[in-house]
Symmetry: C2
Subunit: 280 residues, 2 copies
């Protein structure tokens, strides 16, 4: 009882001494979210953070998410000294976290993979859409490759393929199915990559290439693509090329994964289930 | 010419005035990597960083990666003031980056997705391995679910399924194929999730459940799993359950994606190509 009284008095002191409790939103897991937007003197921030944590502890709060824009990088050290650690960072902000209860933290982990797509766009003449890039691994090698790109935050993988084809070549296309996927393990700081090979059906024919990234683009006979020495000499490329060849003929017996839109657990949200079972 | 001379003199001044150039490793893209390990006074660090950038600019270096362990959080603000920005962060460190040339940065983006697995482990009696979890969304609901988990950094998706089943239930199993996958889009800070449904063949029968996460585990008739009201009432779960049912019968006509090990572009490295074309 005595200990509790001392705590309450201490909190009261903090609250009445002009220390500002940080503005927060509640999340649905019993935690709070602070999005700092305005500059703040580091020592005022330290006092406010301490008082706020005290306050939230009394309220039985659990996780504390603290989003600091890069302009407020002088507050990172203050939060760390209060016991916060890093959760993730993007170019313009860092997210730091703190766990109030004595039980182990159940805060979710951060992202671990990049997701890329390769677009196999084949027309009725068994020609595929290929590009040569201005930058990157294949620049200047003369290798004709399928359009590729990264899936953006919140974007469906099937939509990413359609978007990349449009951006790089101006061709309108619709998603048919996933033919295969691959996982790469990298060394330097980038974590693992997942790469999905998507079959698309072109809806237009005239190429308008993107100037910034694409050197040149064209329709190329499927056999000619497969005959390139780079494809023949690299097991992974050869394997993907053979899968594409199987899926390219009009009477293809190849069974990829198509997209079926389903409700998510969160009411009102939908997402794709990809499988070889059509309409399930 | 005059400008160049002034620069060289300035650099020489820095180098001879006791300012320490930071230790770095070269990466293979013409950039440098600094892994700070020792505490350093922020103003000494500021001077060293400035001198080092000057030095590397003269050497024609491009990207600069600066890894700061959380113990050195007082240096984050210094690096930001020198023009660095955030690339990514993990619990114990932040990675900051800087781009020296005047051309646009070609530094790779950071991870965007979490990757999870659900393990469909079915034995010869058409029974599947199910668990009830102690924590998380389904805790206390009585819902029997398949073992699930997150793919770890550098881990193959097929191996993650085998590992999670072993950890949660003690059952040894081998990967057969991917039956389907799904992409979820979340709101709060976590980016998108990719979730792979994996079929596994059990190699043992006796369950030894994990105490920390699992309330209980058992073998359950496939029909009984599908009859659970949560499965029947949630479109996404129902869809996955029906796909599993199609793939469960011994004469299954369902065509999932199996794993074929192929060489990566990096010599000596291998990774899986997953497709419905066996042995390609």
């Amino acid at each position: 009882m005595i200990i509790i009284s001392v705590k309450v008095l201490y909190a009261k002191d903090l609250f009445t001494s002009g220390v500002k409790i940080l503005e927060k939103k509640d999340d649905k897991y019993g935690g709070v979210v602070i999005e700092m937007k305005e500059m703040m003197n580091p020592s005022s921030f330290a006092a406010s953070l301490k008082a706020s944590l005290f306050n939230w502890r009394l309220q039985g709060k659990k996780g504390v998410w603290l989003k600091l824009p890069i302009e407020l990088s002088d507050l990172v050290d203050v939060a760390k000294k209060e016991g916060f650690w890093y959760h993730h960072a993007e170019k313009t902000y860092i997210m730091m976290v703190y766990w109030i209860p004595k039980t182990p933290s159940t805060l979710p982990s951060n992202a671990s993979h990049k997701v890329g797509i390769g677009a196999f766009v084949i027309n009725e003449n068994e020609e595929i859409l290929v590009v040569q890039e201005k930058n990157g691994y294949f620049a200047g090698t003369g290798f004709w490759k399928m359009p590729t790109g990264l899936v953006e935050e919140g974007e469906d993988v099937c939509d990413a393929a359609v978007r990349e084809v449009k951006e790089e070549t101006g061709i309108d296309a619709e998603f048919v199915e996933f033919l295969a996927f691959r996982q790469y393990h990298k060394a330097l700081f980038s974590k693992s990559d997942l790469f999905f090979v998507c079959k698309l059906k072109p809806l237009s024919t005239t190429i308008t290439k993107q100037d910034s990234e694409i050197e040149t683009a064209k329709w190329m006979k499927m056999e000619e693509y497969c005959e390139q020495s780079y494809v023949k000499e690299h097991e992974g490329f050869l394997s993907v090329a053979e899968i594409c060849k199987m899926a390219s003929s009009k009477k293809s017996a190849y069974s990829g994964f198509s997209a079926n839109l389903k409700s998510q657990r969160t009411p009102g949200k939908k997402s794709y289930v990809y499988s070889s079972a059509n309409n399930i």
